[in-house]
Symmetry: C2
Subunit: 318 residues, 2 copies
């Protein structure tokens, strides 16, 4: 980030017509955003939501409440404008696109081998990288992929340690038995790959999935272009965690949009050192929680850049 | 609220292309909103923010970090578009107006007598009532008034019991000594009026202020017109509490927008039985916290009314 822009934003914040600190976290958000955008008075005009879809071999193990064909059906729904994320994108003035990542060719079942080849993983990462527009001023990476809370939990366990039971959640709504099955499947994957989990990108390749790799690519690409990112829920956070484990500070341009109802999301955000903006019990994915939080970031930046100073307004300071 | 519209909205919610419950509190919000608007597929097109300003005799006791003339100066800032609430109104597409309530004639110091005459209190209540547009589809009542966290804390104590120390907070930023002074002033007011605190509207007249009476009037007016209200922070909640104490269920059309950093706001929301949507450390007033929460309500309603059903999208159910 740009230290001068950040310092300028801090100074401006102190002059605005409000008691010091009275906009709470909105003030921190605006100053953080200003630093990344390199101007003390930034605007948000082009939010971009990139949704990635992938299929998972591990669905054969009965880890989801929905059948695998729903991934492709939901891509059709995104393209037709009928999903939650479409409504949220419209509500907050964001461009939205969906990238289907070889849905006919699911990843391999990670309990029996690496989920992806090196070429597949790199290709998905690149697809994510390239999906981010240079015109964007804030980016949200979302996902759709039946079975991907299992992949994300395995990825989190591979990156941070712990067992399947520590990281598995109910996803789209599995019952007790389904939850136990998810934990077992994750444990089996961790056991199979136990000798090869020291490199975060290799953990992604072995236990993750194409949409997870693409989200990591998009978040890294945004960083390279100094575009702040609002993080969605458990799956997006697992993807981001790969970058965090690969390089300290890799997520400094990222704010956590919300705390998902997916059980282990809080633990994952703690590992990333991120405090969520919202806690509304969402667990849909698609980028939906981050999109709701986009409203908060827009509010923060609008106040920061639009408010009059005490001097401009002729208001007496405290 | 309209039971048929609410039931219709619940049914629609169950058919939308998402796992059941995965939009968390957004689903509850949309169904609640639908019931009040009398349609199972509502829209939000005309949010209205009404800001009321008043001055307080109790400022003579040194209860604020800012001088009393700031109330009128900030009204000028609202009218010129330079305050935080102006930026938030623009960001979320809300109409905003400000009503200055006899700023040249502050309320009386409530430690020495009733803050308002019956005519003054009724007039302010009516000004609030009349400020709500019949075109509005959601209403936010905000305020500006140097000294009004002291009046709001006294009002809360008068309505719910407790001492000045239980309800006083730092407002715009008083120090330890200022906080102690606020608590003492409130205790003096409670002692003076102790025999006359059984009727909530009388508590408002004796310990409140014009902008508090106006907010109560606006919230009651919205109810009469079946317009949902997003509650702002401590002061707005104290005003709403008058209605709550006067008639059980009087705030069923109200959702709490945020938890303010003003110390006793959480306790006050508990008394009202309201769970805040946001917790971002705001303590500005003006309706600012509620305005940020307007983004959440808009998101909820946009998802509910805009999403495709499983049947429409050809997506397999769980």
């Amino acid at each position: 980030p740009d230290a001068a822009a950040r310092a300028g934003a801090e100074e401006r914040n102190g002059q605005l017509t409000k008691p010091p600190g009275s906009l709470g976290r909105l003030e921190d958000l605006a100053i953080w955003y200003a630093g990344w955008r390199g101007t003390d008075r930034p605007v948000i005009e082009n939010p971009q939501i990139v949704v990635f879809a992938g299929n998972h071999g591990v669905t054969a193990r009965g880890v989801s409440a929905f059948p695998a064909e729903v991934t492709a059906q939901m891509v059709g729904n995104f393209e037709a404008g009928g999903a939650a994320i479409n409504q949220l994108a419209r509500a907050f003035g964001a461009e939205m696109s969906v990238t289907a990542l070889e849905l006919d060719r699911p990843t391999a079942d990670f309990t029996e081998g690496p989920a992806m080849s090196e070429a597949d993983c790199a290709g998905a990462f690149a697809a994510g990288w390239n999906a981010v527009s240079e015109e964007a001023d804030v980016v949200i990476a979302g996902e759709m992929g039946i079975g991907n809370t299992t992949a994300a939990a395995a990825l989190a366990a591979g990156l941070f340690g712990g067992t399947g039971a520590d990281w598995a959640g109910r996803g789209t709504g599995v019952d007790e038995a389904g939850l136990a099955r998810k934990a077992e499947v994750i444990d089996a994957g961790l056991a199979f790959h136990s000798g090869a989990l020291s490199d975060p990108l290799e953990v992604l390749r072995r236990l993750g999935g194409r949409e997870l790799a693409a989200m990591a690519g998009a978040i890294a690409s945004a960083r390279a272009q100094r575009i702040p990112v609002i993080l969605d829920g458990f799956i997006a956070s697992a993807a981001a965690a790969v970058l965090h484990r690969a390089a300290p500070g890799a997520l400094d341009h990222v704010v956590a949009g919300h705390l998902s109802a997916e059980g282990a999301h809080g633990r994952l955000l703690e590992q990333l050192g991120k405090e969520p903006l919202l806690d509304l019990g969402l667990r849909l994915g698609e980028g939906s929680g981050a999109a709701v939080a986009l409203g908060i970031l827009k509010a923060a930046v609008a106040c920061h850049s639009g408010m009059a100073t005490f001097a401009e307004a002729g208001v007496s300071g405290g």
